[in-house]
């Protein structure tokens, strides 16, 4: 078991900077998820920790040792790839025991450890099959098994569920969560799927263009996003952003309004805003509630209703031409064209100085 520390880590390919000075601390036994849109550098960062990519500058230490120049095998990491990367010509048993074969471990020890890993992953009956006889989920399980067998101090997962279909993804997600509880190992997990990030992580690192946007527990990120990017990235459907005018700021509470928004006082001011300037008000669709057209703080007409059974997504066209989405936690039909008012809890709204 070990902690992982990145200090001012940078990576450039020629003149292109991919990672611009990242500081991340992963505690021993923690499950940390790197999340961000494609091209944000999350996979590169993981591969740098694994030792598959050089570190241009900064220090990376695992378990207190600086490992910048160490080859992957000396870092004590196990890695699971998106494309499984299991060897097609070997049986499941041989695949899982590969690391031990390489290290010339005895047959008995190899058998014992492979069987133990197979038991943990509930795949003892698959041990003598070949990868071509396995489903996608089973293959990924083999890849995880191969990582477990070597007992690495840090597990690295590079979008392990992206190649699986939706139903299987949920099962495997839960299994990985269980695995973390069972092994109590340090795990770093890369994904672009915020649901995976929210459900699995002890700590989420949101990345964008090679920079850390925010680090925190899933609920911190959800309830207290530090900036517009994190606010928009975490949560589905995405947070609504309204461009508003600031007319008063006092004691960290701002009075904001726009043509379709009645003046409201917002306490959750994320970035300093100034009177007379434009700011952005963020409201999650889940916190908007429909009401009569003449009530509520927001006014518009229903453009589209999507009924999902337990939830209804309503697209509302505002008077100033912008759109806003409300997610109602009930099945409800709102006819397009109907005038509607929306209320929200101002405690759950966030004010940013940035503009989307």
């Amino acid at each position: 078991m070990a902690d992982v520390r990145l200090k001012n880590v940078r990576k450039s390919f020629g003149a292109v900077d991919v990672i611009n000075g990242v500081d991340i601390e992963v505690e021993d036994g923690e499950f940390v998820v790197f999340v961000g849109p494609s091209g944000c550098g999350k996979s590169t960062l993981l591969r740098m920790i694994a030792g598959l990519e050089d570190i241009t500058s900064g220090t990376l230490s695992i378990g207190g040792t600086v490992v910048n120049e160490m080859p992957p095998k000396e870092r004590g990491v196990g890695m699971v790839f998106q494309t499984y990367a299991i060897f097609p010509h070997m049986t499941v048993r041989e695949n899982m025991g590969f690391g031990l074969t390489i290290a010339r471990a005895g047959k008995e020890e190899k058998d014992r450890r492979v069987n133990e890993a197979a038991r943990i992953l509930q795949m003892e009956h698959l041990l003598d099959r070949r990868p071509s006889q396995l489903s996608g989920g089973q293959r990924q399980r083999v890849a995880i098994g191969r990582a477990i067998v070597r007992k690495p101090s840090v597990f690295l997962f590079d979008e392990p569920l992206s190649n699986l279909d939706a139903a299987l993804r949920m099962d495997m997600r839960m299994e990985i969560g269980k695995l973390h509880q069972q092994l109590e190992a340090t795990m770093i997990y890369v994904t672009h799927d915020q649901v995976e990030a929210m459900t699995l992580a002890d700590k989420i690192v949101v990345l964008r263009d090679g920079e850390v946007m925010q680090v925190g527990t899933p609920m911190e990120l959800y309830h207290n996003p530090a900036n517009l990017f994190v606010a928009g990235f975490i949560g589905a459907p995405s947070m609504n952003f309204l461009s508003v005018d600031v007319s008063e700021v006092a004691d960290g509470v701002a009075l904001v309004s726009n043509p379709s928004l009645d003046p409201v006082r917002i306490g959750s001011v994320k970035q300093p805003v100034a009177v007379g300037h434009k700011a952005t008000l963020g409201i999650r669709p889940q916190y908007l509630h429909p009401t009569d057209p003449d009530k509520g703080m927001l006014h518009g007409t229903v453009a589209l209703t999507e009924r999902l059974g337990a939830e209804t997504i309503v697209d509302v066209a505002m008077k100033d031409g912008t759109k806003i989405i409300a997610a109602l936690s009930e099945d409800r039909m709102l006819d397009p064209g109907t005038e509607i008012g929306l209320t929200f809890d101002t405690e759950q709204a966030h004010l940013f100085a940035e503009h989307p």
Binding site: L52, P72, K73, G78, F81, A85, G99, I102, R146
Partner: protein, 355 residues
């Protein structure tokens, strides 16, 4: 989308006809012709009518026997020896030309060995063909593994992301593009016994200590020289095939092996080589077939000599069929070669099958 054109079989056949016709005319028909002609006494140009002769051509080519020769003895029963102390034996022709042994008629000595005082002589009805067969097999046995192995090493070297690697790719592939006849002519100069490049080079390296060798004129070196040149000429082609095989192996497999701590050799053994299985089968079979078809180099460089040391099966087939105008004999050799290559390819496929 099924357009009228793709649904119409008539149009399809019309398009296929020129190609199909040429293949039939120059490959399929001659193939069956060879079988037919090998059972006759057909000559290229002959006033006599063609006769069916059964398997006589095959007997004339393949008949082999071992005869035992007792040493010559003087009146006292002692073995007679020549000036060098070698035992003297009766001449083989006393048997092959004797009316007592009609079954050995026309056969000649191929090689012999001695056990105690008696000598055993292998006689063949066609010694040149036997030599050609042995030379061809030798050629295949040496060229197939060496050329395949060298090509793989080159492919592994080329398959790196280095600046300017394409230049090496081009250099190794260049001899493949040049006609084998041109290459053979050039190498005849290189191998020249008096002023050849190879002798000059070796002489320069050894500061004049090298005794020039007539590479193609010496029965001990002629076949080896042709092997070396043939390996050099086609190695680039097989390098490209290996390269295509190497590039089908997913890079993540290498990364996974690296994470698991595999050394370079272990990576090759557990990732690269198993991933090249199908390519290996292809390369092996292609080289084997090409090696069996050895002809142009011989025709240009040695004409089968010296002392039949570079005779090959295909060279013999052409020599007989057109040189001696014995079409049935040439056809027989072709059929034998076909069966030989077929057998070996089947054995190779069986040995390299998916277990």
């Amino acid at each position: 989308m099924a357009s009228k054109l793709t649904r119409s079989t008539g149009a399809g056949w019309a398009f296929a006809l020129p190609g199909f016709g040429l293949i039939a005319l120059f490959i399929i028909v001659p193939f069956f012709f060879a079988f037919g002609l090998s059972l006759t006494n057909q000559r290229l140009i002959s006033p006599n009518p063609t006769e069916y002769v059964g398997f006589e051509n095959y007997r004339d080519l393949l008949s082999l026997s071992v005869i035992t020769l007792e040493p010559e003895r003087d009146d006292s029963g002692a073995v007679i020896r020549d000036e060098d102390g070698e035992i003297e034996y009766p001449r083989v022709r006393t048997i092959t030309r004797s009316d007592d042994f009609p079954q050995y008629r026309g056969m000649r000595e191929w090689f012999r060995w001695q056990s105690a005082e008696t000598a055993r002589v292998v006689i063949a009805s066609d010694v040149v063909f036997m030599k050609a067969l042995v030379n061809t097999l030798m050629f295949v046995l040496v060229v197939a593994p060496v050329q395949g192995g060298l090509a793989l090493i080159l492919a592994l070297l080329i398959n790196q992301k280095l600046r300017g690697i394409n230049i090496y790719r081009a250099i190794y592939f260049m001899p493949v593009v040049v006609s084998i006849v041109v290459v053979s002519l050039l190498w005849r100069f290189i191998y020249d016994g008096n002023d050849g490049l190879l002798n000059n080079l070796l002489s320069a390296i050894t500061f004049g200590g090298w005794q020039p060798v007539d590479w193609l004129g010496n029965p001990d070196t002629a076949l080896g020289s042709i092997m070396a040149m043939s390996i050099w000429q086609a190695v680039g082609f097989h390098m490209v095939i290996w390269l295509s095989g190497l590039q089908t192996i997913s890079p993540t497999l290498y990364e996974a092996a690296e994470i698991e701590g595999a050394s370079k050799w272990q990576t090759f053994r557990y990732v690269t080589w198993p991933g090249l299985r199908n390519t290996a089968v292809l390369v092996l079979i292609v080289i084997t077939m090409q090696a069996f078809a050895l002809f142009a180099q011989i025709d240009v460089m040695t004409n089968g000599g010296p002392l039949d040391s570079t005779q090959t099966v295909v060279f013999q087939a052409v020599e007989r069929g057109y040189g001696k105008q014995d079409i049935s004999g040439g056809s027989t050799i072709s059929v034998i070669l076909f069966l030989l290559v077929l057998t070996i390819s089947l054995i190779q496929r069986w040995l390299t099958r998916e277990k």
